[in-house]
Symmetry: D2
Subunit: 164 residues, 4 copies
């Protein structure tokens, strides 16, 4: 199936004194992008989950490769796939490219927890079924000029370690 | 009386693609510096006020001049004086300098509010008395190579507009 | 004439532990919004000015009132008017509202400088004429439920102090 | 050998609307902490490398586990060890704990590159020898109440993939 896709413009304030994106700003972009996926891809407002259902979705794991540097003014295309969908957690794969050139590759694990208890809580069933629409199929795996990382297939099969 | 003083190192991530401090990062420095003033200058932990007394101190006003740019690696000396101390709000003057050269001049107004009600709440009396120790005296006014701004004396006498 | 307008969604990461927008994040929004104004309102790419013309537009002054707090998930409508357009600097007025309720009011002064020299440089003439399209007319002054600040008219007439 | 250690106070602005550290802020802490390691641990000023030697040290890889959430006002103890020191890159292990409880575990790969060329450049020899002082010895591996991750030993032995 298709990835969830969005474009993010690299702002002046995303860049550091070397003129490239400062890596904490990449994580801000990821946070915004995943919020947009909830809103537009899963039809589940992230603020709504928080304010009305008291559900939080903290990230508990990241594996990130910054493949090439990115400059002020570049427009990055972000793609997101679901890799593993568990009962209370899900694993995402995110890639950011500029004009077809891979800039960042991310494996991210989110857990669903109750804001009051701080404990893991089941992902609402309607979200689970929508998450499956973005499942990364082997045949649909992204292609890039750079070879895929050796560890990626293993990562995809690895069980999610959800330890909030 | 003496100003509250602290030194802040300009980090790589504070700077933008031009190599100078990006102005939102200056406001992060101000936020951290005012937290340190609460902790060390007023003997009142800001996290403690928040967690235990449910008191928040949002800023409702800023007047800021960025007098000279600041580079990665510069060590800024921050100074803070109280200018006006009201029942539920206080006005601060903050200056940041590098080796005696003024870089930023700030007028900031904080209000005290209850986290639950969102309404203004009296500043705890012990804080008020400690705030007076940092009062900006006319005679102790800071001197700089650059002339003081024409609007500053008026600003100092203007009544605090506290509108949370 | 019409203001330049854009909508900004308040993100999870914009908010602080109290659940409201943390003020340095407001300044990040302002920075992005002014970049969008350059790109869409002035047909002058901010990255292009930086990369190709070596022109920077640092902010040298802010007067900001945070009128009401803003929560995660709110959609803020930003409006921008030009107040004073000089040879090497311009003064902007920016307002952010949520469903017609004013949340933030900003006076900002930008200067144009050469990236190499660090000295002020004339605003390109084609930008000046486009800036005038967003001039704040008295008749077109924004209306709000809250009364306009007493200091605003004076501020509008005050000469720009551009001192980087 | 001993880790490089530093304490970082969790600020109001580090926390999100849920009251916990927002993960992009953790990466800002990591960036500052690694800068301090250069300055204090390696006697090599990071701004100096940048300004005078035109050497940049971008991060090209992160593997991060957020083991437990962290609240406003917590004081985190950061520890850093070198895991692998190559010719132009080094792999670090960083852990952040609060009162002995592990909060974050990081594997980070830095590369040294020339600011002008954008190409990898040898780590200055005096830095290499100082980096070895912080080498993670198996016998000195950190202990925690939580079991070590299954993947950590493998990660430690894995060759650095330095792909700027």
């Amino acid at each position: 199936m298709a990835a969830f896709q969005s474009e993010i413009l690299v702002r002046f304030g995303h860049c550091d004194a070397a003129g490239w994106v400062f890596y904490p700003r990449y994580f801000e972009m990821i946070s915004d992008f995943v919020e947009d996926w909830f809103e537009e891809g899963l039809s589940a407002s992230a603020p709504g989950l928080f304010h009305h259902k008291q559900i939080l979705t903290p990230s508990v794991h990241f594996t990130v490769d910054f493949v090439k540097p990115t400059r002020y003014g570049d427009r990055l295309t972000f793609n997101l796939w679901t890799v593993k969908i568990g009962n209370t957690s899900c694993e995402l794969r995110i890639e950011a490219s500029h004009q077809g050139e891979l800039r960042m590759r991310v494996r991210q694990v989110l857990v669903f927890i109750g804001a009051g208890s701080g404990r893991s809580t089941p992902i609402p069933p309607e979200l689970i079924s929508r998450m499956h629409r973005f499942a990364l199929e082997e045949a649909a795996a992204p292609e890039h000029t750079s070879p895929p990382p050796a560890s990626a297939p293993a990562a995809r099969k690895r069980k999610v370690r959800a330890s909030p």
